[in-house]
Subunit: 298 residues, 2 copies
């Protein structure tokens, strides 16, 4: 862990520590012409902080391990690390250290740690009758990737969703403190991640397609037959299961955390499965095998 | 972080936490015919635990992020993860979680955390007059790599040094508790890492080439004109700077931790630089620019 000692040292905390690690690999998770180096650095931090947000944790530190081809320009590495540092600092955390190695393919693996001063949200706590809510808007990131892969220029509002996702740290903490039962971050796509949450909780779910929060550009695409909001991955919004008693507080929580919150469905008995309902109340079939990188599921 | 929640959660500790991350990349840090998959898993954990050892930390958890080509056989991935789990458990720690992604090139990035219940060793604490000691033997790993790259089969004692290095956790803790001033793990090679330690501490050093602990196979090579013990990287032994008062306890510390300890030199005024002395007391020139992977510096 250059340039300092063999390890970084962090101060003791009286709280449990939440830990996560996630990587972005060149030409697997991104293409170089989709975002700037600094944005790539910010993005890989955000992807990890989003996991902390889903647990209701407060980001404390990040570690940044870069594997880069020798021919990567020095300024590119500097800008990636600057982006990592900026996004970490924006979350009130510190880049505690990292590693740099040569590799044939550029990849950035981040580990993030966060403290859990209050209740910890998991995937397994949802109960029948819980309301399902999501932060922000869905499908924009996958819609942007689909456009890029088709050789088109995505609407700027969509590109921004891929390039600069937001980790919903304040919302995760506030919902955990307010009594939410379960949460997961939306990396694989709503229906896939809802499936993970339902499986872990032993419940089913019904989600109304019409209630999914969308950017206008996503609404147009979904109205034309796509399912970006229901299945598009890598939005890094949160899906949260809340009991009735949290509902009266949602508006206040949304304002306090500056985070749009939308109710999209409810948890039902596991026997009903995990269902997306169309505008007429009929099941709407989508593929939910998990996010296939580069948007091939959408 | 499949298959569980978005984060692993560890219990609070009253002690500071030491953190490190390090990666092994296919065809950069290893070649697949040099070691078995399980050994590769063990090795990447050990490389990280060695950094904890150099700080005097007690391993608590590891996170294992694997990036693997789709064509990697499933058993290979299983064996890598088994090796990671075994080496982590051997150190009394747990694999708290990880990540798996597709990538064109196999790489394994591990993050390790350890608690610091006592004094923390750094690179910057060495003082003029300190004795320099190393654990184990030096140069075996680089000698094995040099043989492989030359198309030869290394002596088994050398191959074992590359394939199955040992993190000197007990020795690091015991030396920290005994009053050692500074430490670094030997990943870049003795003279390179000694340079890092001296730079951080603001001291110089004189090391006697004849005192470097070597396997018999390394002794033969170094007698024939090589400098594997002085410059060979990736032994993952510790270099420790100790004041006079630790010396009478070295034999007992070596026995208590089952770790060979050898005094190889002393810290001197920074003006003298960092010098390797040959058997006649003359400076012995070596290249110490850091470990160039695949042994090209030796």
């Amino acid at each position: 862990m250059p340039p300092g000692d063999d390890c970084a040292v962090t101060a003791p905390s009286p709280h449990p520590l939440a830990l996560t690690t996630d990587a972005l690999v060149d030409d697997v998770h991104f293409r170089r012409d989709w975002l700037a180096w600094r944005e790539l650095g910010r993005r890989v931090i955000t992807v990890n902080l989003s996991d902390l947000a889903a647990m209701g944790a407060i980001p404390a530190w990040t570690l940044v391990a870069v594997a880069a081809p020798a021919e990567l320009p020095a300024h590119a590495l500097d800008e990636i690390l600057d982006g990592c540092a900026d996004a970490t600092a924006d979350a009130g955390a510190v880049v505690a250290g990292g590693n740099l190695t040569t590799a044939p393919v550029l990849s950035i693996t981040v580990t993030a740690g966060g403290t859990l001063p209050g209740p910890c949200l998991t995937r397994g706590g949802a109960r029948v009758g819980d309301h399902l809510l999501v932060t922000g808007t869905l499908g924009g990131s996958a819609a942007a990737v689909a456009a890029w892969l088709a050789g088109e220029r995505p609407d700027a509002s969509l590109a921004a969703r891929f390039v600069a996702p937001v980790a919903r740290i304040a919302a995760g903490r506030a919902l955990a403190a307010a009594g939410a039962h379960a949460a997961i971050d939306l990396s694989d796509g709503l229906m896939a991640d809802l499936g993970h949450l339902c499986a872990a909780s032993g419940v089913g779910a019904v989600v109304e397609r019409a209630r999914l929060p969308r950017l206008p550009a996503v609404s147009r695409l979904d109205a034309a037959g796509h399912d970006f909001a229901a299945t598009g991955g890598e939005d890094y919004e949160l899906l949260v299961a809340c009991p009735d008693e949290v509902l009266p507080r949602l508006d206040a929580l949304a304002r306090a955390t500056d985070t749009p919150l939308a109710i999209v469905g409810r948890c039902v008995d596991a026997a009903h499965g995990v269902v997306l309902q169309d505008e007429g109340g009929r099941p709407h079939a989508v593929r939910t095998r998990g996010f296939d990188h580069f948007g091939r599921t959408t």
